[in-house]
């Protein structure tokens, strides 16, 4: 069963066709990699799927329902979380407060009450412990290292229990030791039932972690399948060599 189904998606920015009739699907419970050279449209696909920019044409289906035209907040409420290529956190909130920002169901009672936080706070602390950054829970997020921000962003996205998480270069700008940790966290979360779609340039990381890989080239999906097969696909080699 595919959780996310993207069909014939297109987006142009002025003269640049960023995404050009892209079709791909993400199987439920999978870790799917989305790879491709710089500028091939990976981040734009994320922005289209999560409602940050409207597509020119094409369709996005999630759990068999069309989600095109919805805003990012509503898409998040449906259960699709995302991170950004350059980790984005709320710098003037503490790490713990960052964890409590995500909203999945915005009922008035939930929004105005303070008492309900007890439970949410506990979960936030657990998640921070899982990511091994609970010692900076009370630190302003703006004072965290880049690696800690990456972990915090991932931890915060998980707070609303999304079913599908889109990670834009989780290994970007991160040292090898942390890289291994992040891979471990993703693997563990996936084991608990979370589906991932991951954009990543680090091939070792992708090959280790992903069950499925989709290759994007000039806005189109040119190949997909299990990592080993895709890697030997001549079209893919051509794309990466800049043919």
């Amino acid at each position: 069963m595919s959780l996310l189904e993207v069909s014939h998606l297109s987006k142009r920015f002025g003269g640049v066709v960023a995404v050009d009739g892209c079709s791909l699907s993400v199987a439920e419970q999978s870790i799917t990699g989305l790879i491709g050279p710089n500028g091939s449209g990976k981040t734009t696909v994320f922005n289209l799927v999560t409602g940050f920019i409207p597509p020119d044409s094409g369709e996005v289906r999630y759990k068999s329902q069309a989600i095109g035209g919805m805003g990012p907040d509503r898409i998040y409420a449906r259960g699709i979380g995302r991170t950004f290529q350059l980790a984005r956190i709320f710098p003037r909130l503490t790490t713990l407060e960052n964890m409590l920002v995500p909203v999945r169901r915005a009922g008035l009672r939930a929004l105005l009450s303070h008492g309900q936080w007890g439970h949410e706070r506990d979960r936030a602390m657990q998640m921070l412990e899982f990511m091994e950054i609970s010692h900076v829970a009370r630190t302003l997020a703006g004072a965290l290292s880049y690696g800690q921000r990456k972990l915090l962003e991932l931890a915060a996205v998980m707070m609303a229990r999304p079913d599908l998480v889109l990670l834009d270069e989780p290994a970007g700008g991160v040292n090898p030791a942390l890289l291994e940790k992040i891979g471990g966290h993703i693997h563990e979360l996936n084991r608990q039932g979370v589906t991932f779609l991951i954009v990543e340039h680090n091939m070792g990381f992708v090959m280790n972690l992903c069950h499925q890989v989709v290759v994007l080239h000039q806005g189109r999906a040119i190949a997909s399948g299990d990592p080993k097969t895709v890697r030997q696909n001549p079209a893919v080699l051509d794309a990466y060599l800049g043919a």
């Binding site: 409420a77 984005r88 003037r92 909130l93 920002v101 995500p102 915005a106 939930a110 929004l111 707070m159």
Partner: protein, 326 residues
């Protein structure tokens, strides 16, 4: 640390007691007049801070709600023939609701913009309010102004007292609202919008609804305070309630005290409003105090860009850390 907390509690309690008995210990009209205006600005700055401080959307047009509140109360009490005395105070919440509705309308449009554009749009709406009050002559009396019921029965020293308590009640309301929001998940969403609006969207914060709610919530007390102000001065003119300076004063007080903090707006109003009244009194209607305002603004921006409260907090934190690690 717990000693500091006890000290804070005691200080807070003392401040509340003093605020409650002030007209008894200092009953002369010049003092109570000063108190009315200072408490008025505590309420205004605190309300403004909910939008400007928490959400980070700087509205320079909040005087619009002050004006709509004042005119609402004046027109309502005139048309309903409300007897002067305590009765007009009962209509203050209605003025608040009207200002709130105006805020929904203005916010619905203005909040399509961000940053500098939002600032300009709010100013434009403030002047539109002023123009309405000037030009709907049949309704508002236009440039000739609008009279309120005059409570003659409150002679002498007592006259200011009911207005003082009305302003105090509204200031408490604004503070309680601000405090509740700051501790709520809604408030956290507002702070997230201030830090990174698109990222907030990405984690499900319904930013449009949150911003509109914050804008409206911050406008309602301003409207009510405007209403009490109109009744207090008994006569209002369009340019003196839809007054850009009132809008700028609340902003300046919040910046001085500390943007986005609970105590900041209170402190800012306590420091600036008495000084401003002094200047206005000394130099009459020359509005020379504007120079003073500009100077304060410059000094704050240069030396205390985050305001007094956050700077002091930081200082205390550093001292504590120094004490902890000898």
């Amino acid at each position: 640390m717990s000693r500091l907390r006890v000290l804070k509690r005691v200080g807070l309690l003392a401040a509340i007691v003093i605020a409650l008995i002030l007209p008894l210990i200092a009953p002369d009209p010049s003092t109570t007049n000063l108190a009315v205006f200072t408490v008025m600005y505590i309420g205004l700055a605190t309300s403004w801070n909910i939008m400007g401080g928490y959400t980070g959307y700087i509205s320079l047009g909040h005087a619009a709600f002050f004006g709509f509140g004042a005119y609402s109360l004046g027109l309502l009490s005139n048309h309903l023939n409300v007897a002067p005395g305590y009765a007009p105070f009962l209509l203050v919440p209605v003025a608040g609701v009207i200002s709130g509705l105006v805020a929904v309308l203005i916010g619905w449009i203005a909040l399509r913009t961000r940053a500098a554009t939002f600032v300009i749009v709010t100013i434009a709406f403030m002047f539109m309010g002023q123009l309405l009050a000037e030009n709907l002559v049949k309704l508002t009396g236009g440039g000739a102004g609008l009279g309120f019921p005059y409570p003659q029965q409150w002679g002498g020293d007592f006259y200011n007292t009911p207005f003082y308590y009305a302003m105090l009640a509204l200031a408490f309301l604004a503070l309680a609202t601000s405090w509740t929001i700051r501790r709520s998940k809604f408030g956290l969403g507002l702070l997230a919008i201030r830090d990174d609006e698109d990222k907030a969207l990405a984690v499900g914060v319904p930013t449009r609804r949150f911003k509109l709610a914050a804008f409206t919530i911050s406008a309602i007390p301003v409207g009510m305070i405007g209403a009490v102000y109109g009744y207090y001065v008994t006569y209002v003119y369009p340019q003196f309630v839809f007054d850009p300076l009132i809008g700028i004063s609340m902003v300046l007080m919040v910046f001085l005290g500390g943007l986005g903090t609970l105590a900041g707006p209170v402190l800012g109003a306590l420091l600036l409003e008495p000084a401003q009244l002094q200047f206005a009194y000394r130099f009459g209607a020359s509005r020379l105090y504007l120079v003073f305002y500009a100077a304060v603004f410059l000094l704050v921006m240069l030396f205390l860009p985050r305001g007094v409260v956050p700077s002091v907090q930081e200082l205390l934190q550093r001292r504590r850390q120094e004490l902890a690690s000898p």
